[in-house]
Homo-oligomer: 132 residues x 2
């Protein structure tokens, strides 16, 4: 068994666990953060736009949005096309995002700061060179 896969899976799991740990202070999980960041960057989006952007399946997003809605982070609005739901950040979310972003930046610096910019580019290049 090629150790690359084991190492890659381990690191991925380890990093999401760490991310969840630092996000605890904001009462968020990493998958919830991914959606909030996506909405912050792109503005209001339909569910389909979100899952295509994050490259996960629709039901994962439906469930996460439902949770974020009950927690007051987002709102679901009917679209002009009655099939689609438009998701927007709540005022409360907009207010809290800067502090969360600070947390994330510190986390990233801690995790990946030991790599030079060239090494980071090298890493991305190698990742992309794997099939898929």
């Amino acid at each position: 068994m090629n150790p690359i896969f084991h190492a890659l899976f381990q690191k991925s799991r380890y990093l999401t666990n760490c991310l969840n740990e630092v996000l605890k202070q904001h009462h968020l999980y990493s998958s919830q953060w991914a959606i909030l960041y996506c909405l912050h960057k792109n503005g209001s989006m339909t569910l389909t736009q979100i899952w295509k952007y994050l490259n996960v399946e629709a039901p994962s997003i439906t469930r996460a949005i439902t949770r974020l809605e009950t927690l007051g982070w987002v709102e679901r609005l009917d679209g002009e096309d009655k099939r689609e739901k438009i998701v927007t950040l709540s005022a409360q979310a907009e207010e809290r995002l800067p502090a969360i972003m600070d947390t994330i930046l510190a986390f990233e610096e801690e995790m990946v700061g030991s790599l030079t910019t060239e090494e980071q580019q090298q890493f991305m290049m190698l990742l992309e060179k794997m099939k898929g």
Copy 2:
């Protein structure tokens, strides 16, 4: 948001999905394969040895072993220390392992074959250079 994390998580998810896909022909999931491979390599192991080796929490292994046991891949035996359970591969599993290993080798070649040995080492080195 540093794109390294997104890329890493995506690739990890993509590779496990691919692995699950090729393992379908053997009616196995990737996490089940990880345990079977571990037992093949190390011989009989206690649950604790397995979860420490695979670096996941104990309940994940308890559940996976229960499933593998009902499917006939492994057996749970009482240890001399009555607290521990010793897990062994079934005869059926031993019989089927070579074919599964062929599948896995082909999968690895497909996924990572486009990288030279140096690139693979480079990749591992960069992974390890990240904190953790």
